[in-house]
């Protein structure tokens, strides 16, 4: 054990002393406490929107749909395209991205192999998100995670482009109309959202907007024309 000078001692401490990682429940505990605190301090602030007429209209749609197709009611609530509240969903997506960037929280199943990631989701979601590796185009699949946006389960596929993490959130929205990618930003992150094949796709990253749009376009091309195997 060499420790003749401060550098040796530093190296010894840095190399061998315990570093304590925050237990997973602490993050949940802290965010819950923060939400409660925020709710108290903003209780007096006026509501951001009055959604009653739209809600009424939406209820009508939901009643109709309940008759037409029992499935998917929960996902209708998560339908920004129906005018529910794109702002709110964008906030959830950005929140989900931030949560995932906390160490050890990025992926539940770590694999660059889509044949590992895809079955992992099968037992956990009632829809099947497309899992596509695009490492050849510079978007490497890192893995997948089950996440919650609002209170609804969503698949999160994690990609890395250079050193930038991209979270792609996917959830079922069978009743939604196909929509071309649209970009928005939240909390300093860029988001690109679109709808196809009965699913909502929301990509979020600290990449700039053209780069994130490029990612979305590459992904859409491959969803449209799946690679063999």
């Amino acid at each position: 054990m060499d420790m003749h000078d401060d550098d040796d001692l530093s190296a010894l401490v840095r190399g061998h002393a315990s570093r304590f990682a925050a237990p997973p429940e602490l993050a949940a505990r802290v965010t819950a406490a923060l939400a409660a605190e925020s709710a108290i301090t903003t209780a007096a602030a006026p509501a951001r929107r009055i959604a009653l007429p739209r809600r009424r209209w939406l209820e009508g749609v939901m009643l109709f749909m309940a008759g037409a197709a029992a499935a998917g009611v929960a996902t209708v609530l998560l339908r920004p395209s129906a005018g529910v509240d794109e702002e709110e969903v964008a906030g959830w997506v950005a929140d989900g991205h931030v949560r995932s960037l906390m160490a050890d929280h990025l992926v539940d199943v770590e694999s660059t192999d889509r044949h590992t990631v895809k079955p992992w989701f099968a037992g956990r979601l009632d829809f099947s998100p497309p899992v596509i590796d695009m490492a050849d185009a510079g978007d490497a699949l890192v893995g997948g995670r089950l996440d919650y946006l609002g209170r609804h389960p969503a698949a999160a596929l994690v990609y890395r482009q250079r050193k930038h993490v991209i979270n792609l959130f996917v959830w079922a929205d069978a009743a939604g109309a196909d929509a071309a990618p649209a970009a928005l930003s939240r909390q300093g992150f860029h988001l690109v959202r679109w709808h196809e094949q009965g699913m909502q796709f929301w990509a979020v990253s600290d990449l700039n907007e053209p780069e994130l749009r490029g990612f979305a376009e590459r992904l859409r091309e491959r969803i449209a024309a799946p690679a063999p195997g």
């Binding site: 420790m3 530093s10 602490l26 505990r29 923060l34 709710a39 906030g91 931030v98 906390m102």
Partner: protein, 176 residues
């Protein structure tokens, strides 16, 4: 429902949760107390978020965590304590290696942990911030609320104490 302010706060501070917990865990030497202190610190930080004004959130947050820990220490009148390091507290997370290397590794880690744990809080915090938190002298000064010169003298004294403790232990153990 979370507000924009809360979201901005979380984006700025949650990435430092592990650093915050590590500091609290080392200062309080107790998992439950460290979690409580971190939660209190985050709430207090949220209330004073406007103070930050776009500056680096990490030293600002660690300073609040540090103060929350000292409040805990004062409450429990532990400032002058010399409790034995409780090994049971400390399921160190070591990388898997071969058994012999692991044993040596564990023994060394435990000795170093014990030596740091036995430092008085004022010395322990500068060592933890410098060596485990990789903070600059200026950041430590900000976090601990002391001048940079004091940071350097405390660090130097803390290293001397650590060196001494590790040497003594080596003699006690009867082997090198």
């Amino acid at each position: 429902m979370s507000t924009d302010r809360q979201r901005r706060f979380e984006a700025a501070t949650l990435p430092h949760l592990h650093a915050a917990y590590n500091l609290a865990r080392w200062l309080l030497r107790d998992e439950a107390a460290a979690q409580d202190a971190v939660q209190e610190a985050y709430l207090s930080a949220l209330r004073h978020f406007e103070q930050l004004r776009g500056a680096d959130a990490r030293p600002w947050l660690l300073g609040i965590v540090r103060n929350a820990c000292h409040d805990h220490l004062r409450e429990r009148r532990r400032l002058d304590e010399h409790l034995e390091w409780d090994d049971a507290h400390d399921e160190a997370t070591q990388p898997r290696r071969d058994p012999m290397a692991l044993l040596e590794q564990r023994a060394l880690s435990e000795r170093i942990d014990r030596a740091i744990a036995r430092l008085a809080p004022a010395f322990r915090e500068v060592v933890v911030l410098r060596e485990l938190g990789e903070c600059s002298y200026e950041e430590i000064a900000q976090i601990a609320g002391i001048p940079v010169g004091t940071v350097m003298s405390r660090l130097s004294r803390a290293r001397a104490l650590l060196r001494e403790a590790l040497r003594d232990e080596r003699m006690d153990d009867g082997h090198a």
